[in-house]
């Protein structure tokens, strides 16, 4: 290893750099805060990176690459893994040939998410090895370790990160790995074709492998003890480790780098050497529950600290058993739709028409706030179409006729297509109206491309999925395309006419996002210049 440069990188940048240095052959994912920048940086560094329509597709594409002998990383936010859970569970059975690292970014505190699920639970449920870095140096080192372990054990590995690891910049000295990958198909039916007779053996094989990894993890240098005092022991992982080191300067700390499968004997030895041992973890009491189930005496945080992010102050309170109410921070100025945002016209129309609006995930969810308050439900990606169909099926006719689905272009690509199939196949008696707010980008996560923009992740020309053509092919004939800037009244008219028709209708409100418009023009100009 040559002497490495000293860099100031975010966790996401560090993961991308490690993937590039390790010769990862394919990176795929779907944009989602706080994971988005990983693939963008990987692409900038010269890696082959692509946005998939959704996380399930991304994980399957990555799995295929890893079956083929390549190293693949697949990135997503925590809720994205709900979509990708189907391939995950069986990928653990089949294993891989090259390497497969799933980077899964949780958002405790919900800075930009609809829930704060703790995806460490997925590692246990699916039987997947899990590593948790606590800063950018570890994000770099653990990405390399995850690739190495994945290849060595022929198993997928989950790199579980959180907002403060992804988006904090810390110093990285990137060691150059020596990894080589060779893609070559090798037939292995018993391992890769999960019919029950093969899957029964595969499940036993997986559990045996995990037992071996657990034994290996007992001695692994991914877990480190910081010997600082004999009174108090702290067990922590991820960002919670950093807070704990600062909050309890006299405590000894066992930092767990691989948190599934757990090195339980090592944890027992550590915990038993202190009169008091406290588990410090963000989110669910995952570590504390597992450790206590093994019969090891440790303290866990009070339930009040399950909610939101931890910080040094909250860790001090946990260690002091302080359960008094916490001072609520003063609310800042809430986010809002940009002045001049093309979505505004649609939400004004929906408000004025008195619609019942099933909304979706994106900037436009802000249509729920004043002065619009034009949204009645928002659950998960794509649910605007399907939740609205369910309401239409059961509401009394005078209410059913007012129900509208509002979905963004990127969200439509992600999981709106199956909703349209449902609409065509099980049409409500009152018909239905789907509005696609097509601003030509994935605005919420920072202006990423998708299949509907006709450009690749790095903004080069690609085949474009044209929403109105797709809808027409499915048998939806009432399709209106409106430009909200040129014809604001036309947006309201298109929605009200569609509602009155009682048929299955699609309204596409198409105008590029204000923030993206200039960039889109540059991409198009570059295309014309033949660059």
């Amino acid at each position: 290893m040559s002497s490495s440069p000293r860099l100031l990188l975010s966790g996401n940048e560090a993961i991308a750099l490690a993937a590039r240095n390790a010769g990862v052959g394919l990176g795929c994912g779907y944009p989602g805060t706080p994971s988005t920048e990983i693939l963008e940086r990987f692409s900038e560094l010269g890696g082959k990176a692509q946005w998939s329509p959704n996380e399930k597709v991304a994980l399957e594409v990555g799995l295929g690459a890893a079956y083929a002998g390549a190293a693949a990383i697949v990135t997503m936010k925590h809720v994205g893994l709900n979509v990708a859970a189907d391939p995950l569970f069986t990928a653990a059975y089949t294993g891989v040939n090259g390497a497969l690292v799933l980077v899964c970014a949780d958002d405790p505190g919900m800075a930009s998410s609809q829930n704060e699920q703790d995806n460490r639970r997925y590692a246990v449920a699916a039987g997947v090895i899990m590593l948790e870095p606590s800063d950018s140096q570890e994000a770099y080192d653990f990405t390399l370790a995850a690739l190495s372990i994945s290849h060595g054990r022929r198993l997928p590995v989950m790199l579980r990160v959180t907002t403060r690891v992804c988006h904090s910049k810390t110093i990285v000295n990137p060691a150059k790995p020596d990894m080589k990958w060779k893609a070559e198909f090798q037939r292995d039916i018993a391992r890769l074709v999960m019919i029950p007779s093969n899957a029964r053996k595969a499940h036993r094989r997986l559990r045996q492998s995990l037992n071996e990894v657990a034994a290996w993890n007992e001695q692994s240098d991914l877990n480190v003890v910081f010997d600082r005092g004999r009174e108090l022991g702290v067990i922590a992982s991820g960002i919670a480790f950093q807070h704990a080191m600062e909050a309890a300067p006299d405590a000894s700390v066992l930092k767990l780098g691989m948190t599934h499968p757990l090195p339980m004997q090592r944890i027992r030895n550590f915990a038993e050497s202190f009169k008091r041992c406290v588990v410090i973890e963000e989110g669910d009491p995952y570590l504390a529950d597992a450790i206590r189930s093994a019969g090891i005496q440790v303290e866990s945080k009070s339930e009040m600290y399950r909610f939101g992010e931890l910080n040094v102050e909250r860790v001090r309170r946990i260690l002091a058993n302080d359960v008094s109410p916490e001072a609520a921070p003063l609310p800042g100025k809430p986010p809002q739709l940009c002045v001049g945002c093309p979505h505004r016209v649609t939400f004004e129309a929906l408000r004025d028409l008195g619609c019942i609006v099933a909304g979706d995930i994106g900037c436009y969810t802000l249509g729920v706030l004043p002065p619009f308050e034009a949204m009645d439900t928002c659950v998960c990606m794509g649910a605007s179409i399907t939740v609205a169909l369910g309401m239409r099926q059961c509401l009394p006719p005078e209410q059913a006729r007012k129900v509208v689905s509002v979905i963004g272009d990127s969200t439509f690509v992600h999981s709106g297509l199956t909703g349209l199939v449902e609409m065509v196949y099980n049409p409500p008696a009152s018909g239905h109206v789907v509005v696609i707010l097509d601003n030509g980008t994935t605005a919420m996560t920072g202006l990423q491309e998708h299949a509907g923009t006709g450009r690749t992740l790095d903004h080069k020309p690609a085949n474009r999925v044209v929403f109105e053509d797709v809808a027409r092919a499915m048998g939806i004939s009432n399709i209106r395309v409106v430009d909200p800037l040129k014809d604001a009244a036309g947006v309201s008219a298109a929605i009200s006419e569609s509602l009155a028709s009682g048929e299955l209708c699609l309204v596409i409100v198409r105008r590029p996002c204000l923030l993206a418009a200039k960039r889109i023009k540059q991409y198009e100009a570059a295309l014309k210049d033949g660059k």
Binding site: L8, P34, A111, S113, N311, G332, K333
Partner: protein, 158 residues
């Protein structure tokens, strides 16, 4: 924690250049050879809402987040963000606001983030060369000359 850590909170509204300002102070400390951590939250908060960014530097930094009551400096790009972030300031900590900038030295309103970093730089023991390199690393090359000139003028004022 080994040695003294300086805690800076940079706050403002989405689109004002809060993240760039924080990048500059973080890069300046990095260039000075210090340990640095910088933390921010992306996503919905960018849509015109309140944005705050933490920068911590010294000989050894653990948590990337500034603990309430421990910030040495609160730098705001928008005066209405002082109250929202007041809980972060330690007793005797300093607040730097746009009012601290001599309007005659601020050629372009869009340079406010750099101007505030110049005001902050006067109170920190980091060599000017590290700040200049940080500004150049954080801004588009066509903005370098004007911003460096403004930075030096404001830093030299008083």
């Amino acid at each position: 924690m080994t040695g003294k850590v300086i805690n800076v909170v940079v706050a403002g509204l989405g689109g004002q250049g809060v993240l760039t300002a924080a990048d500059i102070v973080a890069a300046a400390a990095f260039n000075a050879g210090l340990d640095v951590k910088k933390s921010e939250v992306h996503g919905m908060s960018q849509r015109g809402g309140s944005v705050a960014c933490d920068v911590r530097f010294g000989q050894g930094v653990y948590s990337p987040m500034v603990t309430p009551g421990e910030a040495d400096f609160l730098v705001v790009l928008s005066a209405d963000q002082v109250d929202v972030n007041r809980r972060f300031i330690k007793p005797g900590g300093a607040i730097i606001t746009p009012d601290d900038i001599d309007e005659n030295l601020l050629a372009d309103k869009r340079g406010l983030n750099v101007a505030l970093m110049a005001a902050l730089s006067r109170r920190l023991d980091i060599d000017e060369s590290h700040w200049i390199a940080a500004i150049k690393a954080s801004l588009n090359p066509r903005l370098h000359e004007a911003n460096v000139r403004m930075f030096q003028a404001i830093r030299a004022a008083e």
